[in-house]
Point group: C2
Chain length 282, copies 2
């Protein structure tokens, strides 16, 4: 999709809404075996990554997503040590996970190595923990990886994928969630990006239902602002393998690292869903 008048506009057919950025230069483009990755320089938002024409992230606003997919789950699990990230090729989620000193290993499994190569070049700040001895980067099929994981070997599974079409389609159904359920320890947590709470509540509902069929319970869907995604409002959905634990607020308050968006007060506030969401999600 070409830019027009120096603006890159993404029109979301399913939501009937659009988001865009003013760009000053096209920096790179690569066709991987899986998808087309483009990098633009914007006038106000730093670098911009597109995958198959869909905005993935900008330098300026990705902290919202990366903090919210990592910290709420890691401050809900009682003591997360072994973390697996499915997708997450830009490495921003990996960086946030490794801020937790208790994490002993974080394995990132993205199907497309080119996403990480582009991130290393154009979003180096997201890749600053890639050389951490606790980090392991795999470029492989996340569905297969999770299916082949040793049962009961993982504390937190993070599904940081593109939309549920194309390469990521297999990450939004009962079969995949069953693999996650089996791979997690009894007190394990699954967390997945779950699209727009305003425009895609039906999808969130379906995800929670499929997760439930796979044996998960105790769902939390946390909304957060994310300017570069459809409707500018996004969400993560967490689910526990077993009950009996919840938000470790004191630990979140005493976190030994800085955040830009996440606070323990905000996390606490989000545990009560906005009424329109609670109504739709039951």
């Amino acid at each position: 999709m070409a830019t027009q008048d120096n603006w890159y506009i993404e029109r979301f057919e399913t939501t009937g809404s659009a988001v865009g950025y003013r760009v000053s230069d096209k920096l790179d483009e690569v066709q991987s075996p899986f998808q087309r990755i483009e990098i633009y320089q914007t006038t106000d938002w730093g670098n911009l990554m597109l995958i198959d024409g869909a905005v993935m992230l900008t330098s300026r606003d990705n902290f919202l997503y990366h903090e919210m997919i990592a910290h709420p789950a890691l401050f809900t699990h009682p003591a997360p040590k072994r973390v697996v990230i499915i997708g997450g090729g830009d490495c921003g989620t990996l960086r946030e996970v490794l801020r937790h000193p208790g994490v002993e290993s974080a394995t990132q499994c993205d199907i497309d190595e080119q996403v990480t190569r582009m991130a290393e070049k154009y979003f180096p700040e997201l890749c600053q923990s890639n050389a951490d001895p606790r980090a392991k980067l795999l470029f492989d099929d996340g569905v297969a990886y999770m299916r082949n994981c040793a049962p009961g070997s993982i504390d937190v599974a993070i599904v940081d994928s593109t939309d549920p079409v194309g390469p990521a389609e297999g990450l939004f159904n009962k079969a995949f969630y069953e693999s996650c359920h089996r791979a997690l320890k009894d007190d394990g947590i699954l967390v997945q990006q779950s699209e727009s709470p305003l425009a895609q509540l039906g999808l969130i509902q379906a995800m929670r239902m499929e997760m439930g069929k796979a044996g998960f319970s105790g769902f939390w869907t946390l909304p957060f602002p994310q300017p570069c995604y459809p409707t500018g409002w996004w969400s993560v959905t967490m689910a526990r393998k077993q009950g009996g634990f919840g938000f470790r607020r004191e630990d979140a308050a005493a976190r030994p690292f800085e955040t830009q968006y996440y606070t323990e007060a905000l996390h606490q506030g989000l545990l009560v869903m906005p009424p329109f969401m609670a109504k739709a999600l039951g």
Copy 2:
């Protein structure tokens, strides 16, 4: 600005970002003495109002803004009875204010009667409290209205205006805030829409500084999602005339009306600003 391929895209020069909607029909257009008002029908967001080409509201997402400009302030003031709304011509803020049984009068002063006439026709749900005996609709200059208010006569002043250019420019400076300060009772609260917390932090900082020069203290800036505005993330800024009071959480929890977005838990969570905002705003 004409629509292209049935999409109305608004490009925000100051933020370098764009938001848009797929439209199915143009329903109306009027040139008032102050501005051009257009109404479109969208495919997914109900009706859409533009003022001078800027998206003002859609049927589907305006509840976020209207709840957040009304309820946090009314649940912070100790006992709000007399409320003045400057701007707010679409009447959605008036409707939210009048949900509070303790409010005895709510005066809305918008410079442009045509905004209200269009809202009555295309957003009738927002105007459902216009005939409430406690409501008073004026079409006049809000700056002059506030300047001429009897001193110490108002509990809550709500500034629900367009961006700080054009007709609303006079609502973002020390002289206007001094009028508000004088018109408010000692325990009065001023609340004003304060643009994007991500892209316009400088403006929020300037607003708080001007409010401070006018005698206000005890600021709170609360961010909230608002898909139809630049960056999809917006804010309100509240300021007290005098100290000594704060969020009435129990009353908010016991509110005798329904909300779609606002909850007392969320309000409590937002009293701690995201770190990047706290850093910028001191």
